[in-house]
């Protein structure tokens, strides 16, 4: 089944917005982002003393008249951006809401409808974390390509599953969307390994957008995120969890099964809910604080958050840079 990735309403609403990077980009094409190369644009950057080899046409004659010294004007160049969208496709991203299994001893099939509470029934149509992430990735790709930036896609679980190098033409969007609609959520997560591998692979500065539930070794993940920062990348981290994972809204005694392994745990959600939510808050805060310290742009998302609002909020926040 192909996923519905782009919502025309959202695209219409964000058509006048653009995604900006914090640090100057290194691109060869002309775009909306400041380039690290000084160029021929009209935007003045600074003065520098004239040296041999500098173009004479950039000498600021007004300063020469005042100071009798030669200074050349430096202009900022505008270039396009290379963006890499890293999308987590591990099995944990498959979670779309409660799919209760029959009580123990009655097989592992999906339970009868009456086994679900009213709260649980209401959430039957909620999207999976991966669906939400894919839609987010597709929308961001569209925005970036629309502003002449290059966009690449990396899907991963415990390794890089697919690497689509960045391209800036609009036709590239189809390649990305094809991948997003066909990819399946499976396997364990090993984000640190993937980050490490990708850091080696990406040459030059760029925008790294990571969309994941970050259910991995926290410390390893945080350490390897720093790798991108040390290489002058602009890093945006979308931390995506399902609303059930945030609120634990179940009310009956449950055997919780691991999605990426065989682990299970018997627990009374009502009894542990308070403690569980504290744990989640602590988990989220750890990434939030660490991201702030390392100048990583961190966004916590819940699958119940409307996509349109998330995108608009994100773009406005980026506009401030």
């Amino acid at each position: 089944m192909r996923r519905k990735l782009l919502d025309p309403v959202i695209l219409a609403n964000i058509s006048k917005l653009s995604l900006k990077v914090k640090s100057p980009a290194k691109g060869v094409l002309t775009g909306i982002h400041k380039s690290v190369y000084y160029g021929s644009s009209i935007e003045f950057s600074e003065h520098k003393e004239y040296n041999q080899g500098d173009e004479i046409k950039f000498i600021d004659w007004k300063i020469f008249a005042k100071s009798d010294k030669y200074y050349v004007k430096k202009f900022e160049d505008e270039t396009n951006l290379k963006c890499y969208i890293l999308l987590d496709r591990s099995a944990s991203m498959k979670y779309s809401g409660p799919e209760f299994l029959l009580p123990r001893g009655a097989g592992q099939s999906v339970a009868e409808p009456e086994a679900e509470s009213e709260a649980e029934k209401g959430k039957k149509e909620s999207v999976s974390k991966f669906d939400y992430a894919a839609r987010l990735a597709a929308t961001l790709s569209y925005i970036l390509l629309n502003q002449q930036d290059s966009v690449g896609l990396v899907t991963f679980n415990d390794h890089i599953s697919k690497y689509i190098p960045p391209r800036s033409n609009m036709a590239h969007l189809h390649v990305i969307l094809d991948e997003l609609t066909t990819v399946k959520e499976e396997g364990n997560t090993d984000l640190p390994h993937v980050l490490n591998e990708l850091a080696e692979k990406i040459k030059g500065r760029g925008l790294i957008i990571i969309i994941s539930d970050l259910l991995d070794e926290d410390a390893e993940v945080l350490r390897n995120l720093k790798l991108f920062k040390t290489r002058k990348h602009d890093v945006i981290l979308f931390h995506l969890l399902h609303s059930d994972e945030v609120n634990l809204p179940f009310d009956r005694l449950t055997f919780f099964h691991e999605l990426e392994s065989e682990g299970k745990e018997l627990a009374d959600p009502q009894l542990i809910r308070e403690e569980y939510m504290l744990q989640i808050e602590e988990f989220v805060n750890k990434f939030k604080v660490n991201s702030r310290e390392n100048e990583i742009d961190y966004y916590f998302l819940d699958t119940d958050d409307p996509m349109e609002k998330v995108i608009i909020r994100f773009l406005f926040r980026r506009k401030r840079f």
């Binding site: 979670y95 209760f100 029959l102 539930d213 005694l253 919780f256 099964h257 999605l259 009374d268």
Partner: protein
């Protein structure tokens, strides 16, 4: 030490239902749903912290369910919990007891092993003997309250046992409720934790039917819940045969030239069983002179007249005896008859007038000597008070004081001696009588102290007078008025009369009453 017993022990099988909550507990555990969940590591971490609370909650739930089942089962089985220890503790507590023996006349009813009184004495001894050294007790009898004053609680068991031996049947009226009230007063002063009253009686005073009323009376007398009252019915439900001579009169009559003694007796059967041909014998000077038979239904009263010829003049003594039964004292009754030629009456007129019919004594004299001839048995002498002072009372058998204003102390003394010697005295009151002065002057010669003069006032539809209402004709004075030929005392109208000072206990009998219940003749 507890003894647990059940009224419906079969319901205890329901305790097997206690397995139900355990099964529910296990089934619930098995019925836990399974859910694939990504953030299980936080569930595990939370569960570790909450595990203790979780297990405790499950355990509490199991215990509550189990206890609920057990409680319901026990409720249906109706458990009875008795504490031997408590019982022993109670028995060891210091106690104060008052033992009351009914020493009324009815206790002389004979039973197989003696009489009721003997049984009551034995029961009282048993109670006192059972007392511990820390217990104190007192002994009361139903007739001892006014005569001897209340006894005191004592720890001396031997003294009490001796006192029981000294208790005798009393011929005075018994006052059971008053005695119980006195016992309560005694116990109020006691510091003992257990207070008890043992009332040992044949319950005859109140009648078997009225036993519940008596119990209510006891409750009212005791009031305090801390005092236990034990009514020990010595008679139980034994059926006792008893007939008694209720009344006896001996009249000398002349039949031609022969003088005969008419001995008239009223005999009552107190038993549930009928009595056939009860033998009635009359003895004069200890010689059997005449006998007869009477048959009585249950609780029936019958009259029997026996006639015996007499020769002697002067005093004749004798007795009537019926066949012995369970209660001997009422089987025999004595009589004494002075064989007067005439009765000599001294009538003192307190307000003599020249018009005879207005005199206080005119109608009295007419009543005493209606025939005005030698055939009359009463010889009356009407005098004024001044004349009375000169009279020698030894010459008279009876004195009538009619509306006499007062009397000198010396003459009162003489009058008292006259009465003590067997003379008759009748006060007839009138407007010369001042109640307080009278009380002071005559003292205990009066059957009851005077209080005031009461004037009958008409109110609403109420008549302006009272009349005499005769309820009981058994008294010899009233007896002649009984029956269709006896006349009607009720036709006399009383617009003003003397009321008497009421007292809780009175030795006097009311012979006649006004229609409003006030005494007329005492």
């Amino acid at each position: 030490m507890f003894n647990l017993s059940f009224i419906n022990p079969l319901f205890l099988f329901g305790a097997l239902l206690v397995a139900a909550p355990i099964i529910i507990h296990l089934v619930n555990k098995k019925k836990a749903f399974s859910l694939k969940f990504p953030t299980i590591r936080f569930v595990v971490a939370s569960n570790k912290r909450a595990a203790k609370r979780f297990k405790l909650r499950q355990l509490i739930l199991l215990i509550l369910r189990t206890l609920t089942v057990l409680f319901i089962v026990f409720l249906f089985a109706r458990p009875l919990l008795s504490s031997k220890k408590n019982a022993m503790d109670y028995a060891n507590l210091p106690r104060s007891s008052v033992v009351i023996i009914d020493n009324s006349f009815s206790m002389l009813y004979k039973t197989g092993g003696g009489d009721y009184f003997r049984s009551a004495v034995i029961a009282a001894k048993d109670i006192i003997s059972g007392q511990k050294n820390i217990d104190n007790a007192a002994l009361l009898t139903t007739s001892s309250i006014t005569d001897e004053g209340p006894a005191q609680l004592t720890f001396k068991k031997d003294e009490l046992l001796n006192s029981i031996r000294d208790v005798n049947i009393s011929y005075t009226r018994s006052k059971p409720l008053k005695t119980i009230a006195a016992a309560v007063e005694l116990l109020k002063s006691s510091q003992a934790q257990v207070k008890e009253i043992y009332f040992i009686s044949d319950m005859q005073k109140f009648g078997w039917e009225a036993k519940s009323d008596f119990a209510d009376g006891v409750k009212r007398a005791v009031k305090s819940k801390s005092i236990n009252v034990y009514l020990i019915d010595i008679a139980g439900n034994k059926s006792v045969r008893n007939a008694g001579i209720m009344n006896l009169k001996a009249l000398k009559q002349s039949k031609g030239k022969i003088n005969v003694l008419n001995i008239f007796s009223r005999i009552k059967n107190f038993s549930k069983q009928a009595v056939d041909n009860l033998l009635v014998k009359c003895y004069i000077f200890d010689n059997e002179v005449v006998k007869g038979f009477v048959s009585l239904e249950s609780y029936e009263t019958a009259e029997k007249s026996l006639f015996a010829p007499i020769d002697e003049s002067g005093i004749i003594t004798g007795y009537v005896k019926i066949k012995g039964d369970s209660f001997a004292p009422d089987d025999k009754r004595y009589f004494s008859l002075k064989s007067y030629q005439t009765v000599r009456a001294l009538v003192v007129d307190g307000e003599p007038t020249t018009q005879l019919y207005k005199s206080e004594t005119f109608y009295l004299n007419l009543g005493l000597n209606p025939l005005k001839g030698a055939s009359s048995k009463i010889e009356s002498n009407i005098v004024t008070y001044d004349e009375y002072k000169k009279e020698d009372l030894n010459n008279y058998d009876v004195v009538f004081l009619c509306n006499v204003k007062g009397m000198a102390p010396q003459k009162v003394l003489e009058l008292r001696n006259f009465v003590r010697a067997g003379g008759g005295l009748l006060f007839s009151l009138g407007d010369n009588v001042a109640p307080m002065d009278y009380n002071e002057t005559f003292g205990d010669l009066l059957p009851q102290k005077l209080r005031d003069v009461f004037v009958v006032k008409p109110a609403g539809n109420k008549r302006p007078f009272e009349y005499i209402e005769v309820k009981d004709y058994s008294h010899p004075v009233i007896e002649p008025f009984e029956g269709a030929k006896g006349g009607d005392l009720g036709i006399a109208k009383f617009y003003k009369y003397f009321v008497l000072q009421p007292t809780p206990e009175s030795k006097s009998d009311i012979i006649l009453e006004y229609s409003n219940g006030n005494p007329c003749l005492v």
